[in-house]
């Protein structure tokens, strides 16, 4: 059974069907891209995976070590606990908090000490907070952010904010990482950098990654498989080369005129 299996997933808002009958399977360790024009329903799909929206119909099943869990309709925090973490299209960091706090908040779900320890600062509190801090800094190191740990997130340059968001998502110890347009707003250099980082964390954390992206250079380069969404429907799936050659895709996404040119 695949790690994540999505079956006939549909979401409509009022009369508008944003995601319609989408079926996809993600195997453990894969790096899969989802592309499609703006408004095609990609982010809605992510919001369905992560519990922000409840599906109108269909199912999302996660196989965590043989135990199959239905994610559809779960609250976002339960989805995260189940092992799905995400970043957002329009960066949703805790802007007025420090870089370190951003990561530490994501680690909260694994905290062991209880409320009394928080109030009265028993030794448990100190020990755990210390190791939490170390772990957070280790993670920040990976993204070359540890020297900025006390800066407010909003004061980071754009590219670093994107990195921090990924670091924060990793702090929840996910099995699957969902990246919503991670390269948006980055210049080619930064994008190239990001491409490497994504590859690297995938190895390092043994992650399965699902990403939405417009930047074709990134998608085509690192994704093993690509799903193409248009108008809420899945119109194609396959290896990058196949997608590039797919007529439907060219028509919907890349624009017909150019393919003729």
């Amino acid at each position: 059974m695949p790690l994540l299996s999505v079956d006939k997933l549909t979401k409509s808002f009022g009369g508008l069907t944003a995601v319609s009958n989408v079926t996809m399977n993600i195997e453990k360790g894969e790096l899969v891209g989802i592309i499609g024009p703006n408004g095609a329903g990609k982010t809605t799909l992510f919001n369905l995976f992560t519990g922000v929206y409840t599906p109108t119909s269909g199912s999302i099943k996660l196989d965590s070590d043989g135990e199959v869990k239905e994610l559809g309709g779960l609250k976002p925090y339960n989805v995260t606990k189940a092992g799905l973490a995400r970043t957002f299209q329009n960066i949703r960091l805790f802007k007025d908090l420090t870089v370190l706090d951003n990561v530490r908040i994501a680690m909260h779900q694994n905290i062991q000490y209880k409320l009394p320890s928080a109030f009265f600062r028993f030794n448990k509190f100190y020990n755990e907070e210390e190791s939490l801090r170390e772990e957070a800094i280790k993670l920040l190191d990976i993204f070359h952010l540890s020297h900025k740990k006390n800066e407010l997130a909003k004061n980071l340059p754009y590219g670093e904010q994107r990195h921090l968001e990924i670091a924060r998502a990793l702090a929840t110890k996910p099995a699957i990482l969902l990246l919503d347009e991670p390269a948006a707003g980055m210049n080619p250099n930064e994008t190239a950098n990001l491409t490497e980082t994504i590859e690297w964390i995938r190895q390092e954390f043994k992650l399965t990654i699902l990403l939405i992206e417009h930047d074709m250079s990134l998608v085509m380069k690192i994704c093993e498989r690509i799903y193409v969404l248009d108008y809420g429907m899945m119109i194609a799936s396959g290896k990058p080369a196949e997608i590039r050659a797919n007529k439907k895709v060219i028509e919907a996404y890349l624009g017909e005129d150019v393919s003729n040119a």
Partner: protein, 292 residues
């Protein structure tokens, strides 16, 4: 049955007043998302302006009503320009505290000038009483309901048929898009305050005449109730404010009439909370979804 009808009549008179105040709340909230706590005090000032117009200028009901509405409109605009506009980009809580400050200011400036003692209203309308199938109806009640309905129709006309009304609706939905239509956001907000305050002023005069008693702190409770009426009806919605006002008025009289009058306010609040939990945007409110 007669008693019930009588209670409904009582409730409608009371509710019309809540509705008039609620309209201002709903309009202001609709356009700048501010609980204008000073709104109830504009209503109080309106009652005093009407009092002065009738007592000292010896005006009749309609001239006094019109003058009150004009002066309250000006007051509303001044409040907006001086106190709220500089805070357009601040946190909502800062604006809310400012609104509370303005509210206290109006109350205590009035108390300073006119004293805390209640005043009775000069008689401009006869208190004649009709009996209709066992239900007692006061001429003043008829005036209240008729004036309230007339003003609400006027408001509906302004909002739906005039340019400024359309500008108000546009600004309340989408300030950026409204600007792209050439609509001046600031002056539209001022108009909104003007109209809302004029309505509160009218309610003040009507209350003065109907209940014959005004004082500087008279705006606090009705202001709160009217806000609840606005929330109940779906804040930002004009028909919602009317329905909300009338519902709260009728509910209050029914709780007093058939239950325990001491739990009247508690019942109103409890009802509001239940409505909010079941339908967080009120009866006619629209759902807005945060973009993720």
């Amino acid at each position: 049955m007669e008693q019930f009808l009588q209670q409904v009549v009582n409730g409608i008179s009371l509710g019309s007043i809540y509705a008039l105040i609620a309209l201002g709340y709903t309009m202001v909230y609709g356009i700048i998302n501010l609980i204008n706590f000073a709104h109830g005090d504009v209503y109080m000032i309106g009652a005093y302006i009407g009092f002065a117009a009738i007592t000292y200028a010896k005006l009749g009901f309609f001239p006094a009503l019109v003058i009150t509405m004009i002066l309250c409109a000006i007051l509303g605009v001044v409040i907006e320009r001086v106190a709220y506009k500089p805070l357009r980009n601040s946190t909502r809580i800062a604006v809310l505290i400012t609104a509370i400050g303005v509210s206290l200011l109006l109350e205590y400036v009035m108390m300073f000038f006119v004293g805390a003692e209640v005043r009775s209203y000069p008689k401009v309308l006869s208190g004649e009483v009709f009996h209709l199938v066992g239900v007692v109806i006061n001429i003043q009640q008829i005036y209240i309901v008729v004036t309230a309905i007339a003003l609400m129709i006027l408001l509906q006309f302004i909002v739906h048929k005039t340019k400024i009304g359309k500008a108000m609706r546009a600004v309340s939905v989408d300030q950026d898009a409204a600007q792209l239509m050439g609509i001046k956001v600031d002056s539209t907000i001022s108009y909104t305050f003007a109209i809302g305050s004029a309505f509160a002023g009218a309610a003040g005069v009507l209350v003065g005449i109907y209940y014959n008693s005004i004082d500087p702190l008279m705006g606090i409770m009705p202001g709160l109730k009217a806000f609840i009426a606005a929330v109940f009806g779906g804040i930002g919605s004009i028909p919602g404010a009317m329905i909300g006002g009338l519902s709260i008025g009728i509910m209050e009289t029914l709780v007093s009439g058939y239950g325990n009058s001491m739990y009247r306010d508690a019942a109103v609040f409890a009802f509001l909370i239940i409505i909010l939990i079941l339908k967080p945007t009120g009866l006619l409110g629209k759902n807005t979804r945060e973009k993720v």
